[in-house]
């Protein structure tokens, strides 16, 4: 094999790919070479000198060019004159490496002794103590005694904040630059560096705000000493007291694998759990630091029932009984259709499945939705499932030949860890294309970037579709694409020139993008909230690019929809939507969408609303009026949200840390989280509340079904009764049983079970001593890797092109600006409740304007402006930033004090801006 190299390490032969460094080759045969600065995820630098080894290569006769042989016929090995750093030395054929002998040991002892000269040895009060590579390597390789005087140590002021979240103890730092390199190479936020030289060398962060990165917590994981500690975990616990419980992050659609590290029923810290198919070994700071909602004293603890106009504590029996009786009454008098249900994308699959069963089967209501019903609701996304990333795709393996197109998305804010993974594909040789209305951080790593005018997205897509469309060979191939003919007319006038004129994009770049798309071996397309909000023609256009590039259902290809919420895909898969049942099955009678339910409520046609894990009133306070007209409002929540405050009955639920369940991430990987914490109050999991109600309600249903028997033939009667029994079978003892039911009734999920979600164990499990490379006790994955459900297009059959239209937004003259709602990672979501550490990072309620635009309006930072659309007006203070494109005002989504819902319209919102008086 030309691409492989065989070498000998301490007498043991090992074959590894060309280009491997000696440390990695040794690691493969479990020969541990000690390292500090080397990290398998980053380029080697050879800074710490801990990995010194003896290296020799076969001696080559200069005359003949042949390897010299000794008398036994073995190659003569010529040792290099000095020790080499094993982390920077690439292997070569016939290389001989000695990692254990007196000379190497002498060097290792010397390096450790030198590193410890300025180390304070304050392990008893150091958070890293117990999982510290410096401790471990000193025990294993260090000298027992130091020749340096203890009182000669260099001292610095004890920890100084590098930013809000991370503290630096300069005495402990061994200057390995792992943190600096992580920020540069992996996070792409070059906010750490070295100041000064020699003994006063130290890590600094001078960004504004300091250590401005959404991935900063990872530096504390990879720090091989106790120099970097997190503000959240400092002095909270000794690591050997912690019990890590596998969980899945509930904050965004990436679904990072994590552990809750528990001590005495409290979450002490959150650590990443390695899963190369999802998050490698990284998590973002929101996932790591925003766990405090779990232990927040503001959590709801008991059911609340409205009595005399006030919510008052009640027993579960009382609250359940009340809701069951009232729902039964409404079902009897007004029918199931007078009941509406909203269940949010942060609920587990098991809850969502139970929710739609409860509505469709028990109550007989088709009215369910996973959106809050405000003007900001996104269209329901089917393409992410139909054309989704095909099962078995591992983004970590993709590189050369892969084209990643990111359209209308800001992964840094919407799904941070995807940013790292997309960047890594580009680093491995993939082609990254970003197409957005504004600059995003991902642009920095992209080979091609286009910035379109908002409203002209479809113009760009048409220009991208056209060459792919024309390239589809006639006859058979065209017939195999349903809807092929329909696109002909739409694309007839499409051209790059037109896109340049109408969307303001760069022509030559568009040309290069089209070439890249046409020659892609694998094609992965990410799209986010801005693409979704721009309308289904945009997402359909992206789906059509995939299909016409003949990558729909192809390996290592597909769409990834960044729909907000940890389980947004799960909610759509489970059929928590008015138009489709579980597994995207067709419904005879579609129900009302969330906003239609509120319209009906306003008109007095909605008798009951059941809201789980959503807070529509917070997003749109005008919905409060609608809720007041509903006879029965039931809310299942963690907190007494604005919506819960208006409810008739509030059920307190268990958080992700206190129960079991599964989430389905944006790549459609179903992943399991475990119970880490005993409930401290009598809250219940969402599914169990629904089951209790369903049981009470369905006793009636069976009686009704058997009462009808006399009117029907026996066969019909038996079927009706069977169906009724199935409908009324609510005997789930655990979420695992609900998942079995899901697997039985949703074809997509037929291979999913709690056991299968753990089946890949061991793939990335740690070998003995691997902690030295990866640090401490973190990362080990004992909780399973989850399992991806197949995309619709994988089933074969005829592929469909989706209806796609080119629309150009025409700006009304009286409203010459465009308002764009921008998502932020740190918004005012209830899941950030109690995590005060992140407060300084939260998006501020400001309107971002390009400085040129602000100048033209005579606006300074902080000036208050009125932003008026056709629907309403909004007042915000101005922030001048080059990140805002000209002609656009960027307004943050889900931030308190920004009533976006009062102004946004479908598609692009045209607004007038003027300085607000007073």
């Amino acid at each position: 094999m030309p691409d492989e190299v065989t070498l000998t390490i301490d007498g043991q032969s090992v074959t590894v790919p060309k280009g491997t460094v000696v440390v990695e080759a040794a690691r493969k045969i479990e020969n541990l070479i000690p390292v500090f600065c080397y990290h398998p995820k980053m380029a080697p630098v050879g800074m710490c000198r801990m990995c010194l080894v003896k290296v020799g290569t076969p001696k080559v006769d200069r005359g003949t060019g042949k390897v010299e042989l000794d008398t036994d016929g073995k190659p003569v090995i010529q040792m290099m004159p000095r020790l080499q750093t094993a982390c920077t030395t690439p292997v070569s054929e016939g290389m001989v490496v000695v990692t254990k002998d007196a000379e190497v040991e002498h060097a290792q002892k010397g390096v450790l002794e030198a590193l410890l000269t300025s180390h304070p040895l304050d392990c008893p009060v150091c958070d890293k103590g117990g999982e510290c590579p410096l401790q471990n390597l000193t025990m294993g390789w260090g000298p027992g005694q130091s020749r340096f005087d203890y009182s000669d140590k260099v001292h610095f002021q004890k920890p100084i904040p590098l930013g809000d979240l991370i503290y630096l103890d300069r005495e402990r730092c061994i200057l390995c630059a792992r943190c600096v390199r992580f920020q540069d190479e992996i996070a792409g936020d070059p906010v750490l560096g070295f100041d000064n030289r020699g003994r006063s060398w130290m890590i600094i962060s001078k960004s504004d705000p300091a250590f401005d990165s959404k991935f900063s917590g990872n530096t504390t994981d990879i720090c091989p000493v106790g120099a970097l500690t997190s503000a959240d975990f400092r002095f909270k616990a000794r690591v050997w007291e912690l019990q890590p419980v596998p969980t899945v992050c509930n904050h965004c659609p990436v679904g990072c694998n994590m552990t809750f590290d528990m001590r005495a029923n409290e979450i002490m810290r959150v650590m990443p759990r390695e899963n190369d198919a999802v998050n490698e070994i990284w998590i973002c700071d929101r996932g790591r630091f925003a766990h405090h909602f779990v232990a927040s004293p503001e959590r709801l603890t008991t059911p609340l029932v409205r009595k005399n106009g006030k919510l008052q504590e009640a027993s579960w029996e009382e609250a359940l009984d009340l809701v069951a009786r009232q729902l039964d009454g409404i079902r009897e008098s007004a029918g199931g259709k007078a009941v509406g249900g909203l269940a949010g994308p942060s609920l587990a699959n098991e809850d969502l499945f139970a929710f739609q069963r409860f509505f469709r089967e028990t109550l007989g209501s088709p009215n369910i939705d996973c959106r809050p019903g405000t003007a900001l609701d996104l269209p329901l996304d089917d393409f992410g499932a139909e054309y989704g990333l095909t099962s078995g795709t591992d983004l970590m393996q993709l590189g050369k030949g892969t084209v990643v197109l990111v359209f209308g998305a800001d992964p840094e804010e919407e799904a941070p860890v995807h940013l790292l993974r997309i960047r890594n594909i580009a680093k491995r040789g993939g082609t990254l294309i970003t197409i957005n209305g504004r600059a995003t951080k991902l642009d920095r790593f992209a080979e091609h970037t286009l910035h379109y005018r908002y409203g002209a997205e479809t113009e760009v897509l048409a220009a991208m579709l056209k060459p792919l469309y024309d390239a589809v060979p006639p006859e058979g191939k065209r017939a195999a694409l349903r809807g092929f003919g329909d696109l002909r007319g739409v694309l007839a006038n499409a051209s790059a020139e037109r896109a340049v004129a109408n969307a303001g994009v760069d022509g030559p770049t568009l040309e290069k993008i089209n070439q890249a798309l046409a020659s892609a071996t694998n094609l992965v397309i990410f799209y986010g909230q801005e693409a979704l909000r721009a309308g289904t023609s945009v997402t359909a256009g992206l789906a059509n690019i995939l299909t016409l590039a003949r990558k729909a259902g192809a390996p290592n290809s597909g769409l990834v929809a960044l729909v907000p919420g940890a389980n947004a895909r799960g909610a759509l898969d489970m059929g928590v939507r008015p138009d489709r049942g579980p597994g995207y099955s067709a419904l005879k009678q579609p129900g009302m969408a969330a906003h239609e339910m509120f319209d009906a409520a306003r008109q007095g046609r909605m008798k009951a609303l059941y809201i789980a894990g959503l807070d529509p009133v917070q997003a749109d306070p005008t919905l409060a009026e609608a809720l007041k007209k509903v006879d029965l409002v039931v809310v299942q929540e963690l907190f007494l949200t604005a919506t819960a405050q208006l409810a008739d009955v509030v059920f307190p639920v268990l958080s992700v840390a206190e129960r079991e369940g599964t989430f389905t991430n944006a790549e459609r990987r179903v992943q399991r989280f475990r119970q880490a914490r005993r409930p401290v109050a009598p809250q219940r999991p969402d599914w169990q509340i629904l089951q209790s109600l369903a049981r009470q309600l369905s006793a009636e249903a069976v009686i009704a079904a058997s009462a009808n028997v006399s009117d029907k033939s026996r066969r019909q009667a038996r079927r009706a009764e069977e169906q009724a029994r199935k409908r009324t079978d609510w005997s789930y003892a655990s979420p695992a049983e609900i998942l079995m039911d899901i697997a039985a009734s949703v074809p997509l999920y037929k291979h999913i079970s709690y056991a299968s979600l753990e089946s890949a164990l061991g793939v990335w499990g740690r070998k003995p001593n691997e902690a030295y490379y990866f640090d401490g006790t973190s990362y080990e994955n004992t909780g399973g890797l989850g399992k991806q459900v197949p995309a619709g297009a994988e089933n074969g059959g005829t592929l469909s092109l989706q209806p796609f239209n080119v629309r150009t937004f025409s700006q009304p003259a009286e409203r010459p600006w465009k308002l764009i709602a921008t998502p932020f990672l740190y918004d005012d979501s209830t899941l950030l409740n109690g995590s005060a550490l992140l407060n300084n990072r939260k998006a501020r309620p400001v309107a971002a304007l390009n400085p040129a635009d602000a100048d033209s309006l005579g606006l300074k930072d902080g000036d208050v402006i009125s932003i008026a659309s056709g629907r309403g007006e909004l007042r915000l203070s101005v922030q001048r930033t080059r990140l805002a494109p000209q002609g656009v005002v960027l307004v943050p989504l889900h931030v308190q004090g920004v009533p976006l819902v009062t102004v946004v319209e479908a598609g692009v919102t045209a607004v007038a801006i003027r300085r607000a008086e007073g």
Partner: protein, 172 residues
């Protein structure tokens, strides 16, 4: 604002390099001369001119000892007190300078003319003792040469010649 004031010079420097990053040192020289030192605000200003991350510029400033974070005189007098210079009378030279300038090493004269510093080897051991005045080297400086040297430097300042603590004009 630095860029507005030195636009031509900065543009000329930027034009010399294919990437803005390469222009960092010469632009820092301008900033240090303009402000008399490189404090946080001036370092950030340079970073913005060159579109560099703030931290990167702080790293460079921190690395080089000829960037000063506090005010210095028109001339910074660096006297080497490493071993070879000491053998040849560096200590006597420092003592003499301290006495004549009426400041201790590490300080600036009241008239803001000179800053006296002790430094380690500046790579001219064969001509010890060595004194560096901004970027000018003065070799075999014995106390008897000091009055003329100081007078010469003063005259330069008074003559209105371009003086740069960064050695910005040294290459011309």
């Amino acid at each position: 604002m630095l860029y507005e004031k030195y636009r031509d010079e900065i543009d000329a420097i930027l034009a010399r390099y294919p990437s803005k990053r390469s222009a960092l040192l010469p632009v820092l020289y301008i900033a240090q001369d303009a402000y008399g030192r490189l404090d946080d605000a001036s370092i950030r200003e340079v970073a913005e001119i060159l579109d560099l991350p703030y931290t990167d510029v702080f790293e460079v400033v921190g690395f080089y000892t000829l960037f000063y974070n506090e005010d210095v005189g028109k001339f910074v007098l660096d006297v080497c007190d490493d071993v070879p210079c000491c053998f040849c009378g560096a200590e006597e030279l420092v003592a003499d300078l301290e006495q004549r300038l009426k400041v201790k090493a590490g300080y600036t004269t009241d008239d803001k003319m000179f800053t006296l510093r002790r430094v380690k080897c500046i790579a001219a051991c064969d001509q010890a003792p060595v004194l560096q005045a901004n970027l000018e080297f003065h070799y075999k400086v014995t106390p008897d040469k000091v009055p003329a040297l100081l007078e010469d430097l003063r005259r330069k300042v008074e003559s209105g010649a371009q003086i740069s603590i960064s050695g910005r004009f040294a290459e011309h």
